[in-house]
Symmetry: D2
């Protein structure tokens, strides 16, 4: 496992930090991850909203798997956002699993998206978040 | 404790939901809390970043209380954001304590803001979040 | 709001820490909150398990409010446990709301406890956690 | 990525649940993960306590990496515990990264364990948690 994949920019932490020659200030680097943070935060809010809205649908049973995935997806996105914001050296290690869960949640929500606005919006937020995580991973390759 | 203070808009949950006469759709109401969510998410990211940056300062000891408050502030904001996004009937109950911790963190960060950009930015994010939480509370009064 | 209610023992943090005359070591004080931490952790696990089990019931719709409260209860207990374990000066401020949500979840789960083992177990864990939180609050009075 | 590694027992969720021939009740299976949950919860509390105690040490700068790893370790353990307790099909996917972060935190804390009781206790809790996560992974092989 590489200690410093570049997919998530380590703003201020991580071994070797002091030894970089042209070290951008922590503040400058901080904003490089803003698009990823925005995608993660939008996904958290969409999943939380979708789970609550699913529980109010007439046929809740049909939404059970959607609710389960909403819970997992909001939680992994929240952890990934925290690690990213703090510039943790472990942030990149979460991106793959975060993308996988976003994909699973998007796939399930899309099944209901034609009839339920909350699932449509959640699927879109999950898909954008999956892409943002994979973009981070590809930079790390 | 009132069961439904109006400070945080319950998008889809909470007793009485079905009985409102002019009930906005869950989707419509969802976006009413976006400014609060944005303030909370910005505060989480600023606190996480500030804690990491404080740990890299030459005089870490001077930053110890700042780091402690950053941890608490990021955590309470994260919970408040989740409850708000899901439209929990308990979301409004967290706003007061969230505002208090944001205030404490802003007060501490302001002491260092003249010399440290991360503390300056964190103080500003905490102050905005404190105000967003108090705005929610005042609607509930 | 008192800055240092005694309901949660501040192991190592909080103003005044250095000035106590007979200051127990952080390690010694650490274990004073173990019963509260145990009750919180048991409640988190029971709520997470209950929510999942509710989603597998034949009549999920009947369990919708139970699932919603399980989500809130697990989340507030998790935050309260983190603040308690770190000896945050803000830990005591969470105990009242944590007790309220545990009570609400216990009340709902008890309605289903005769027929569903997961709700019976969750109601018991929530009730014990509510009591542990209130015990902490009463020490602070 | 296998959808159902056996390292974490899926109590109630996951595809195929309905189709197992000798399906233990959710309640029975629930308790199979208790040793893992106990190790995770002990690790969370030890890391939170260690971070706070490190911030009170005379030489905080020496403890900066320890504090950073305490934050990451408490957070990944908390997510892993939630996924495990809810029987998420994604719980097993977190075990490897959780074990890695526990190992990194234990390695760092052991450097200070001779002189600081909080680091000694945290190193032990992290090592036990790393082992519990790896035990789960080996069952999944």
């Amino acid at each position: 496992m590489p200690a410093h994949p570049a997919g998530v920019q380590n703003c201020v932490a991580g071994p070797g930090y002091k030894h970089r020659t042209h070290n951008p200030s922590p503040t400058t680097m901080h904003h490089q991850n803003q698009p990823l943070l925005d995608a993660l935060n939008a996904c958290i809010a969409a999943c939380e909203h979708c789970a609550t809205a699913c529980l109010l649908e007439p046929d809740v049973k049909m939404m059970a798997r959607c609710i389960s995935l909403d819970r997992d997806c909001a939680d992994i996105c929240a952890l990934t956002a925290r690690f990213t914001a703090r510039g943790s050296e472990h942030a990149p290690h979460l991106l793959k699993e975060c993308a996988e869960i976003c994909k699973a949640c998007a796939d399930e929500c899309e099944k209901h998206g034609a009839h339920m606005q909350h699932c449509k919006e959640c699927a879109e937020a999950c898909r954008r978040c999956e892409q943002a995580c994979r973009a981070g991973l590809s930079k790390a390759a």
